[in-house]
Subunit: 129 residues, 2 copies
DNA sequence: CCTTGCCATGGAGTACGCTCAAGGGTATAG
DNA sequence: CTATACCCTTGAGCGTACTCCATGGCAAGG
């Protein structure tokens, strides 16, 4: 089965090598294997974890909290309920963020309309006095 | 006309007094007046600016950039085009963020379904072996 | 064999957005 | 008049998430 060095993994995930090492230090990557000379070895399944980490981070979860989630995952089925609860909270949070963005988009669209009108008037005013 | 102290403005905007003073120091609040003893005096119109700042910040614009925008605003009509462009860029950015959130929501929903199924199987498995 | 390039660690440094503390002025209720 | 609850400034400190650097190991091609 194909394996990846940290550099290849970083490239594939669009993260920096330093970021991956930082995540590892913070306990987010306990699933990453090591070769006998100490190199990190990424396998295909690891990318599912990395994508999940990326997803959780993008929804505003702190690395610390993601670390907690990863630890739960490693503990197995006893933490299923906790992890479900975490995702349910995350879901609500994402919905909140989407609602907030929709409102801000409205405000921005409104501003764009205003600015466009103001610019139109300026050019028209200059052309036909 | 009603005026607000920094404490009242902070309360109304759901920001801390320190945050408002920090914004001021960073050049985001050149429109805020001062009383003769040096106190900041917020007027009704100022809240439109504060809400705009909040909006831009929520879409991911850095305080530095917001400061640039505010300075443009103070310069008047000559910067209309620049400001319009800024909002157009911001609009694209918000759309990107919304698309990204939608994808993450899908992933989260998928995970929730998986976890719920796993929990169901666990309880059913225990009840009917 | 040696160079080049990627791997490792530990620890320091950075950017951002606050947040707090020290030291001092002001205003209003009792 | 004084107490208390605001206000001011300057400057330091903090949490998060990287990012960079020094130092050193390993490996594959020429």
């Amino acid at each position: 089965m194909k394996t990846y060095t940290i550099g290849q993994a970083a490239q594939r995930m669009n993260l920096s090598v330093d970021t991956l090492r930082y995540y590892d230090r913070e306990g987010l990557l306990p699933f990453v294997a090591r070769s006998k000379n100490g190199y990190r070895v990424f396998h295909e399944e690891d990318f599912a974890w990395l994508e999940l980490i990326t997803c959780l981070k993008a929804t505003g979860l702190e690395l610390k909290e993601i670390g907690v989630f990863i630890r739960w995952s490693m503990e197995g089925d006893v933490t299923l309920q906790k992890r479900l609860d975490l995702f349910l909270v995350r879901r609500e949070e994402v919905l909140r963020q989407m609602a907030s963005l929709r409102q801000h988009l409205e405000k921005i669209d409104h501003k764009i309309a205003l600015y466009q009108r103001a610019l139109d008037e300026k050019t028209n005013g200059a052309k036909s006095p």
